[in-house]
Amino acid sequence: MFDKYLIVAGSAHDVVEDGAVVGFAFSVRIGYYRGLGISMVEPFDVVVDGEATDPATHRFTVSGRTFDYAGMATRPDVVWEMRDDAVITVLRPGGLGPGEHELELTEHLRVSYLPFVAAHHDRKTIRIDPAA
């Protein structure tokens, strides 16, 4: 559901910290008709230019708070609301670098009334501008 909206168009950028590019980030919508506590959001599949990224390098930011997957697992009280833009950051020295890239995202949402973990998929061509 809402698959074509999962990766927020125009949101991808390299992340600069202390003058160095430490990774890239993009905004993401929930592929579901209601919000979920982030303990029910399982690790994302983030594939860039055909290459899977390591979940250990992912950070998830919602309502201004940032978590790794272990941190998310214990926080049913932090809700990714249906209308929220959350942010996925992938730590990767040098980031993606300027230009076009193919970004694929799969969300895995643990919805209790379904006998399986729901998967939602989006794929977009993104453009990274030179880091400021």
Partner: protein
């Protein structure tokens, strides 16, 4: 038998416009009232961010909206996140606390009914029924495809209603259990997703002609069906076509109706669900309550078309009134 059938809408129907930030909660309530759906059913976890910790001011505003738009709160749709944690299921105590939280929310909204999600165990309803009754709220499990009235799981819920009383426990049939034809929007989407036309034809024919759909998934898989073919076969296996007259048989338990629909055509009828027969059965049963529009077509067309939930609900409301007011 005399009946008192009213119409309303589940705001679930407008999820596309809400998700895309085209309409706010207040605008959706106003829109629903404008198109004749004055009974308002809500999903707190959808359009009330901050739930379960909503401030007093939210509830005060909610009641101002109800007065301003001439609307009535009908039902709160609850969820039970039994898989809240990755490594264990909720305990009974946690499930009871979750349901009680929803009961308090429904009471504050002024909604008489809670739509109990179908994965809620009957013994949890038994344990929370008195708490609900004390607050003027009825716990009503949704009878939703592929479950039918005769399913042992639903029968166990009906037994709880018998023991605890119909002033505290009931059911909400979802009209998707009366799907006579496979929704056109569903198989057309499968084709756009790459389904094989001859498999689609076989699946639709098997469903519509009431041939066995029990092993469709396995059959299509063995015949070499692709992912989209298998998705459609799974859908057909999980769609059911009960006799609308069952609404008469189970009338005493019914406290609310989910007017599930997939596609209101330009001719003002639902493509796949026989609402004329449904409304006739509810009249025969002397039903007193709401039919709550529940549009679920958006997910099947949003890949290729602009979704207009408001027009879809408007058409369904018009159709329902035609059948309610007619012979």
């Amino acid at each position: 038998m005399t009946h008192d059938i009213k119409t309303g809408a589940s705001l679930y129907s407008f999820q596309e416009e809400y998700f895309l930030r085209k309409l706010s909660l207040e605008e959706i309530i106003a829109t629903s009232a404008r198109i004749g759906a004055r009974g308002i059913e809500t999903l707190a976890e959808q359009m009330m961010p901050g739930f379960p910790d909503l401030p007093d001011e939210f509830y005060a505003e909610w009641h101002r909206w109800m007065a301003k738009y001439g609307t009535t709160p009908t039902a709160h749709d609850m969820f039970l996140d039994t898989k809240r944690y990755p490594d264990r299921l909720l305990t009974d105590e946690e499930m009871i606390a979750s349901v009680q939280r929803d009961i308090r929310h429904a009471e504050r909204l002024g909604a008489r009914v809670i739509r109990v999600i179908v994965n809620t165990p009957p013994h949890i309803i038994e344990a929370t029924a008195d708490y609900a009754r004390d607050r003027g709220v009825i716990l009503a499990v949704e009878v939703h495809a592929p479950w039918s009235f005769e399913d042992p799981w639903i029968q166990a819920h009906l037994a709880v209603a018998d023991r605890k009383g119909l002033d505290a426990v009931g059911i909400i049939p979802d009209m998707g259990i009366f799907t006579r034809r496979l929704p056109r929007v569903v198989w057309q989407r499968a084709l756009r997703d790459g389904a094989t036309p001859r498999f689609v034809e076989q699946i639709v024919d098997a469903y519509d002609a009431k041939k066995s759909t029990a092993h469709l998934f396995d059959s299509i898989e063995m015949l070499g069906g692709n992912r989209a073919d298998l998705g459609l076969a799974w859908q057909a296996e999980h769609t059911i076509d009960l006799d609308p007259h069952q609404l008469v048989d189970f009338a005493k338990y019914i406290v609310h109706i989910h007017g599930k629909f997939y596609e209101m055509t330009d001719d003002g009828v639902e493509y796949s669900i026989p609402y004329d027969e449904i409304v006739a059965a509810l009249k025969e049963a002397g039903y007193r309550g709401y039919i709550s529009s529940e549009y679920e077509g958006n997910r099947h067309i949003q890949d290729a078309f602009e979704v207009d939930s408001v027009e879809q609900v408007r058409r369904q409301q018009e159709m329902l009134r035609r059948y309610i007011d007619g012979e």
